[in-house]
Amino acid sequence: MGCRILILAEHEGGAVRETTFELLALAHRLAGEGGGGPADVKALLIGHGIGELAKGIAARGAAEVICAEGEAVKDYTGDGYGRILESVIKAESPDIVLASHTPNGWDCAPLAAAGIGVPIATECAQIAFEGGRPLFTRKAFNGKFIQVLDLGDAKPKMATVQKGAVAAFTGATQGTVRAIPAGVDAAGLRARFSGIKKSEAGGVDLTQAQVIVSGGRGVGAPEKFGVIKDLAAALGGQVGASRPVTDMGWLPHEHQVGSSGVTVNPKLYIACGISGAIQHIVGMKGSGYIIAINKDADAPIFGVASVGVVGDLFEIVPALTKAVKDAKGQ
């Protein structure tokens, strides 16, 4: 018996990403539910000069950290990470493999899955044992439905896990670190890292905002954003947007809240005409208080909002702006 779990650790800017410890917390629970224990949880860390980071992971959740070091994987490429992940899975033969549903996790984990010949449950919000086997819960149809997947006899069962789906591991462990050769060299890689840069110059920093008023596709047109901007101004906040709004060029990209934009946690978030695709929700669900205004009573945004109004945003938002100004005595 037992349930051996391998997680793919991620690091950035010389620090282990918090999502790694979320995976470790999930791995500890799954190892237990599967009839094993903390000793069954291993982490794979890939990079160059990462010995100290590996020790940190061994001290916070992993019984063993497999540390694949090499100059060729100093920076992330799907080719390098994917191949190492695949070869370590083949060598370790875990029952479950977890990666974060981050731009690097969703990029390399499916490569390893296909190399091994198993599917992968992507962007899981929950994984739990039910009737003796793990079931993988995720959103489908852009959040309209919850899908539960059974990966049958897949070995390993692979998944990427939504950021923030699980609280990070906070306990202390005394794991070990095992260094292995990366096994890939720069000459053999068919993908070459060429830098990280800001996608666009922008003066807006939503991550520091206390109040964000966001508009979505439901606003209808760029010239109609006035009501959103007025409410943001009345509240002393910033204007945010969902992906379709920035894709269509209604607002610059730096206003985008969501998995591909910025993750925000203001005290107050007001979503206007935003249906609540999962990509948006992961970027704003950590907000202190969420108000949703949408004409569709079934919109997923109401599932994360504290309070909602079903109706026409062009009636409600201006009325709210006026009420805010009255309350402030303006």
Partner: protein, 264 residues
Amino acid sequence: MKSLVLIKQVPNTDSPFRINGAGTWVDEGNLTYGLNDYDRYALEALLRFKDAGKVTEVVALTAGPERASAALRTCLATGADRGIHIRDDGLNGADPLSIARAIVAAIKDEGFSLILAGLQADDDNYMMIGPFVARLLDRPCATAAMRLELVDGGTARAERELENNRVQVVDLTLPAVITVQTGINEPRYASLKGIMAAKKKEIRTVGLADLKMDAGAIAASAARFKTVRLAPPPKGKGAEILTGPADKVAQELVKRIREKTGVI
């Protein structure tokens, strides 16, 4: 340079979605379908390379039932040169890995240098097919490209979207597979002339026998990726819904903002 775009026909987002009797997927009877939005951007990226003389041919491929040929026709009307339709009842209920294997089998003699796909499909949101095809072909892959250029005949440079408005620039040795994020370009629409011309363009239809794929293996693979439940998101923790005239609702909201957030 020959190029391929992997496309999917998906339910329109404003379709009436209902869960099927078994509670395992949506009832497809009531849905209307169209080309997956992400794929329009992938197709446009290839058409621009062709307009610039960097790509000689743009082929669109889909795997799906008969109705999916309409999505291929949309691509042909928009400017793709020809289509490949993988169509077989044995693929009903196939998992993404089998679909990827079928795609790889269908294109093995084609010699595509650049293969693009949408980052994900708007129905299942799996994000698997692009990387799966790349790995099965043993070629490099990059996902969520926000910019894409062909540096020379042998390299594609992609800007992969990261979090917090950053991108990673990565150079891939061709042949390569790249998935495209929405917003990378402004997709064109089919012209009337294009729609007429599309009627004469070739769609090659291939089945499992042509691909030398075994229905038993597909069923075994599907058993490793089985949807046991599809359900609406839990309502329990949902929002308190305010109703009434806008000005009354606004006052209620202000009261809550004041009590819960202190920003007023």
